[in-house]
């Protein structure tokens, strides 16, 4: 093979490599969400109430403890799971019983969910139960929302001061 053919083949190899690198570094495009849809994102991190009642220790019990361990209240660490619901135009979009995190089940319960929906007007209701009540919810928030295509509508939660946050 002559030198000029070799150089030509080398140039072709470099061009082919450059085309592969250049093209696949930013193409083809990936459609993560249908551009004609909107997204409702539920994300919350909240600790349920303690599962049991705190109990005041007797004087006798306190004296049995080391001096630096004498706390008057004995509270169980375990927390209650959260019950969270999202209702969109009367339809149940999400309902989960969220267990507390942590090895001792004493951490916050965490929810993270995404829902692709058609743009438009909706009545959105978010409800959360963090106590041991049998019926009803401890927090509830409803609002009329307008969703645009590709809008990222966030349902967040802060127990203090406002409860559910719609953004």
């Amino acid at each position: 093979m002559t030198k000029s053919w070799q150089i030509l083949l080398q140039c072709l190899a470099y061009v082919a490599f450059a085309v592969v690198v250049g093209y696949f570094s930013s193409a083809p495009a990936y459609v993560h969400l249908d551009p004609n849809k909107a997204l409702i994102k539920l994300s919350l991190s909240h600790a349920g109430q303690l599962k049991g009642e705190c109990r005041r220790l007797t004087q006798e019990e306190l004296e049995k403890l080391a001096p630096n361990m004498r706390r008057p209240l004995d509270c169980p660490r375990e927390r209650l799971p959260l019950l969270v619901e999202l209702i969109l135009d009367g339809n149940l979009l999400y309902r989960e019983l969220l267990p507390p995190t942590g090895l001792a089940s004493d951490g916050a319960s965490v929810a993270y969910a995404r829902f692709a929906v058609e743009p438009g007007s909706y009545q959105l209701i978010a409800r959360l139960r963090d106590s041991n009540r049998e019926q009803g919810f401890d927090y509830e928030h409803g609002a009329h929302i307008e969703l645009r295509p590709q809008q990222n509508f966030v349902v967040d939660f802060r127990a203090e001061p406002e409860g559910f946050i719609f953004k």
Binding site: V21, L33, S45, G102
Partner: protein, 519 residues
């Protein structure tokens, strides 16, 4: 596994053959993948340092500074940004092909498993470096990468608070997060560099720089690509709007679309299992390790040629432990020895001309000794008849030589072609055991034992000790580094060589000694 490896190797060799024709064996990029990986790393590092001068951390500052880099200072920082991206992408390509080739060549077992195993974390660190880099631009792609990555991390049951909550909306996002990402994007590549350094520790004279011509060509290619198709951003990130359609870098982010198809924890499991399987590959299936080289102190004068020639730093010189009048002796580290036998081929005592004492070199392979090689050579040569008698020395990593055997052609397989000392060529030709010697093995530029072909060429050319004596007619020696995919070419070259030998006539400088078979 072996069948898969052979299939991959045979197919790769066809592609390598094309590149051999275009670049020549010395510049063939497929033989320089590790060195090219280092080269791309340095391009990424230098361009990254330049970009860091102009980069600002902050929710809006990051994007604006990258826009300045790309559009205002396009001729310098913009080109650096493109080089940074494209060299990073090229690094992924050469890393993956390097992994496939090393698997196909079977260079991952025994002591060589060290390089294989230390290569596995390199995969993770290169991807971590690239992903954190895309994050910093804080454009639409960065938004997608940040959210998808944190959501994926949150599927691991190790984080108390969901990291993805940092990217819920603008009020939850902190500029300090960008400072953290810059730190990670600098720290991870530095750790990567450290692992890359460990990766090559068991190689003597590791190839960390590609040949200059290939490096220049590659850099020109990257520069032209950077000017012709500069890397750009995809619009500022806006957490109120979903990054619905993104132009992915498919070299770094091919796993991300799977996050929309399968649970994140499943993808972690796939990568975790994949990593474990990769780490176990050197033992799949388990094989018995070959006996390593041993030193015979009675025949070792501490010359150090074996140390110079060992491609795996398995031989070292240490103070003498016997009463011989030499300062040092060769010592083999059994953990590093790959049983290639190149050390025996370099030993000046490994000469078949020895008659005064038994042929026991200073360093040798117990299961494939130099003495055995001489016996097999003489036995095979004795069977030859007719004109243009040729002995073919090949290696166990090269093509199967059995098909070449004939009345005038004998074949011998050594662990590596460089296991055959140059004195053997002198011996069989000058003692008229054969009319010519044909050497073959792996593809030129890509010896299974890293340096075997190079050492053979240099020994014959008189550039490396032990030299092939000048009295040996070079026209009676032929070489074809055929690999496993070139048996037909090997047969054709051998025919052509024998035709040339016929033209030369018989070589009768010295008659065979009666006692060549003994001693």
């Amino acid at each position: 596994m072996t069948a898969l490896r052979r299939f991959a190797r045979a197919n790769l060799e066809h592609i390598e053959g094309v590149f051999d024709r275009a670049f020549g064996p010395a510049w063939n990029p497929l033989y320089q993948l590790g060195a090219l990986g280092w080269f791309f790393y340095w391009v990424v590092a230098v361009s990254g340092i330049y970009l860091f001068i102009f980069f600002d951390t902050g929710i809006t500052d990051a994007y604006e500074s990258v826009e300045y880099i790309t559009n205002v200072q396009w001729y310098a920082a913009g080109v650096m940004r493109s080089l940074h991206r494209y060299a990073s992408d090229a690094m992924v390509i050469v890393m993956m092909v390097h992994l496939i080739r090393e698997f196909a060549m079977g260079r991952y077992r025994g002591p060589r498993s060290f390089a294989w195993i230390t290569g596995v974390p390199i995969l993770w660190f290169i991807y971590a470096s690239g992903i954190t880099g895309y994050w910093l631009v804080w454009d639409k792609l960065a938004q997608y990468v940040a959210i998808a990555t944190t959501e994926w991390l949150d599927t691991l049951p190790i984080f108390g608070e969901a990291i993805a909550r940092n990217f819920l909306h603008e009020t939850t996002l902190s500029s300090r997060f960008f400072s953290l990402m810059v730190f990670i994007h600098i720290a991870v590549p530095l750790i990567l560099l450290f692992i890359m350094w460990i990766h090559i520790q068991r190689h003597s004279s590791p190839k960390v720089n590609p040949p200059r011509g290939l490096a220049v060509g590659t850099l020109i290619m990257l520069m032209v690509l950077s000017f012709a198709y500069p890397a750009t951003s995809q619009g500022p990130a806006d957490l109120n709007v979903v990054a619905a359609v993104v132009d992915l870098d498919w070299f770094y982010l091919p796993a991300y679309p799977f996050l929309d198809m399968i649970p994140g924890i499943t993808l972690w499991a796939v990568f975790g299992i994949g990593t474990v399987v990769l780490l176990l590959v050197p033992w799949l299936p388990p094989t018995r390790r070959q006996a390593v080289a041993t030193v015979d102190l009675d025949n070792c004068n501490g010359c150090g040629r074996c140390v110079d020639d060992c491609p795996f730093s398995a031989v070292s010189m240490q103070p003498r432990t016997d009463d011989k009048p030499f300062a040092q002796e060769a010592v083999v580290d059994a953990n590093l020895c790959t049983s290639c036998g190149i050390c025996a081929g370099a030993c000046p005592t490994a000469t078949p001309f020895r008659r005064a004492s038994a042929l026991t070199p200073g360093i040798d392979l117990p299961n494939s000794s130099i003495r055995d090689l001489r016996d097999r050579t003489l036995s095979a040569a004795d069977q030859l008849s007719g004109d243009a008698r040729v002995i073919v020395y090949g290696c166990r990593a090269g093509v199967n030589l059995d098909a070449l055997q004939g009345p005038s052609i004998a074949t011998l397989c050594a662990p590596c072609t460089a296991t055959v000392p140059p004195s053997f060529l002198d011996f069989v030709i000058s003692r008229h055991h054969v009319d010519g010697v044909f050497l073959t093995g792996c593809r030129e530029g890509d010896c299974f034992n890293r340096q075997g072909i190079r050492w053979v060429q240099q020994r014959i050319a008189g550039q490396r000790d032990p030299y092939l004596r000048t009295r040996v007619p070079r026209e009676r020696i032929a070489k074809l580094w055929a690999g496993v995919a070139g048996p037909q070419q090997l047969a054709d070259e051998l025919d052509a060589f024998r035709n040339r030998l016929r033209g030369l006539g018989a070589f009768r400088k010295a008659a065979p000694k009666q006692n060549d078979h003994h001693g």
